[in-house]
C-alpha cells in the first residue's frame, strides 16, 4: 500500500480521469442511445434497418477494436482528433481523451439503445390501445401513457449499461489516457513487491465508483416508481 499512499495525488488524478471519461461519454451515450432507439422503433423501415445493423455490428465488436480503429486506423484515412487541446485545471483534454470519448460513446450508445428499447417493449400493447380508445391524440398517447412507463421500465437496464461503461473506461488505458487502470499498471511495474496492495487499492476505488452509480440508479428507480 505504501506505493499507493506515496503517489496519492496521482492516484486521485487518475481516478479523476476515469470519472471524467465516464461523465462525458455517459452523457453522450445517453443522447446517442436515444437517437438510435428513435430510429429503431420509429415508423420508417429503412431507419429501423440501419439502426438495427449499426447496433448488431457494434455490439459484436470488441470495444478494444473500436478504440484501435479510432486511435490508429482512422488517422490513416484523415479522421483524427488532434485539434482537441483543452486544459482545465490540471486535467488535459487532448486527442487521447477525445478518441476515448468517441470510442466509448459509439460503443455504449448501442447498449443504451437496447436498454431503452426493452423499456418500450415492456409497455403492454393494451396501454396504448386504451389511450387511443379514450381519444388521446398521438402526442398525448406518447407523453401521458407510453413514454412515462417505458422510461421507468428502462432505468435498471440503462443503469447496467452505464456501469459497464464505467468499467469500460479502463480500456482507455491501452490507448494513452492516464486513468486509474493505466496508473495501476505503472505502479505495479515500479513496485513489484507490492502488487497485491496496489491491485486491491485500485479495485476498491472501482468498487466504490460502481456502488455510487448503482446507488444513484436504485434511488432514481425508487423515486420514479408508481406506488
Amino acid at each position: 500500500m505504501d506505493a499507493v499512499i506515496e503517489s496519492l495525488p496521482d492516484v486521485f488524478k487518475a481516478f479523476g480521469y476515469t470519472v471524467l471519461l465516464f461523465l462525458v461519454s455517459g452523457t453522450l451515450s445517453l443522447i446517442g442511445g436515444t437517437l438510435l432507439v428513435a430510429m429503431r422503433v420509429g415508423p420508417i423501415a429503412i431507419l429501423n434497418k440501419a439502426g438495427a445493423a449499426y447496433v448488431t455490428l457494434v455490439r459484436n465488436t470488441p470495444l478494444l477494436a473500436v478504440f484501435f480503429f479510432f486511435s490508429f486506423a482512422a488517422p490513416r484515412i484523415g479522421i483524427n482528433f488532434r485539434w482537441v487541446d483543452v486544459h482545465i485545471g490540471t486535467f488535459d483534454f487532448t486527442s487521447f481523451f477525445s478518441t476515448a470519448v468517441v470510442a466509448l460513446t459509439l460503443y455504449t450508445s448501442t447498449f443504451v439503445c437496447e436498454a431503452l428499447r426493452s423499456g418500450v417493449n415492456a409497455v403492454p400493447l393494451g396501454q396504448a390501445e386504451a389511450a387511443r380508445a379514450i381519444g388521446l391524440p398521438f402526442g398525448g398517447v406518447m407523453s401521458q401513457v407510453v413514454l412515462p412507463q417505458a422510461f421507468r421500465a428502462s432505468v435498471p437496464p440503462v443503469a447496467s449499461a452505464l456501469i459497464a461503461l464505467l468499467k469500460n473506461t479502463s480500456v482507455a488505458a491501452v490507448f494513452g489516457v492516464i486513468e486509474a487502470t493505466s496508473q495501476m499498471k505503472s505502479l505495479t511495474n515500479n513496485n513489484a513487491d507490492e502488487r497485491w496492495g496496489i491491485f486491491l487499492a485500485f479495485a476498491i476505488g472501482y468498487v466504490v465508483l460502481v456502488e455510487l452509480v448503482s446507488l444513484a440508479a436504485g434511488t432514481l428507480e425508487r423515486r420514479w416508481r408508481i406506488a
Binding site: V41, T61, R195, A203, V210, S214
Partner: protein
Amino acid sequence: MASAVLFDSPGPKTAARHRIYTVVAAVVLMLLVAWVLKRLNDAGQFAYELWEPFVTPNIMQAIGEAWLDTLSMAGLSVLGALVFGVVFGVAKLSDHRPVRWASWLVVEFFRAVPVIMLMIFAFYAVFNSMSIERGAYWSVVLALTVYNGAVLAEVFRAGINALPKGQAEAAYAIGMRKSQVMNIVLLPQAVKIMVPAIISQMVVALKDTSLILIVFGVGLTKILKQLPLSFNNLVPTTIVIALLYIVTNLVLTAIASYAQKKFVGEKEMLKVSMVGEADQNQSAATF
C-alpha cells in the same frame, strides 16, 4: 412489436409523409456510406497489396490459429466460469448467513472490477514465472473465469429463483434433504433455463479476450498488432479482425437463440441487472 405500441397504422397522408422520410433517409445513409468509401479510397486503402496478406495461405493459416487461440481462451474461461458460477450461485442461496455474505462479497467484487485490471494483475502477479505468451494466455483465462463466473453466479441464482416455489416445497415434502432438493430438483431445471444465457456469456468473454493487448497480444490481437508492422495495412487489418470477431459472435448468438427456443420456448432470455434487486424478484414472481 414496439411500433405496434407506439403508432396507429398510418392513413394515406401519413403513408405519403413516411415515403418522403424514407427517401430522405435513404439518400442520407447512402451519402454517409459513400463518404466513408471515398475516404478509404482517397487514402489508397483499397490497394490490392494491402489486402493481399488476407488471401496469402501462410498468413491465413496464422490468422486461423490466432482465431482458435482466441476461441479457446473464451471457451476455457466460460468452462471455468461455469464451475465458479455454480459454486458461488448456490452459496449465495445458502441457509448459512456467513456463507451467503462471503459469496456475495466475492461476486460483487469481481463484477465491479474492470476485466482489464484483473488481466494486468494476473499477468504480473500470478503468471509472472511463465513465458510471456503463455502467461498472457492464462491471464486472459483466469481474469475472464472470475469475471464471467461472478456474472454467471448471479444468473444461476436468478435461474433457481425463477423456478416455481412449489418445486422445492414438493421436494421437501417427500422428504428430500437440502442437497437433494438442490441437486436433483432445482439445478437440472434451472440449468435448462440458463443454457442460452451461458452461451451469450461466451460472446462477452470472446470480446473481452482482446483486452490482453494492454500487456501483450495473444490470439487475434497478436495479428492486430503484428500484421500492420510488416505490411503497413493498419486499416484493412483492423477491419478484417473486427469482422472475424463479429461473425464469430453472430454465430454464437444464433446458437444461443436456437438453444433458447429448444430449451425454454419463446420466453425472454434470463438477464441479470447490475442494480435493483427488486426487478429480479418481480420477474421471478411472475414466472
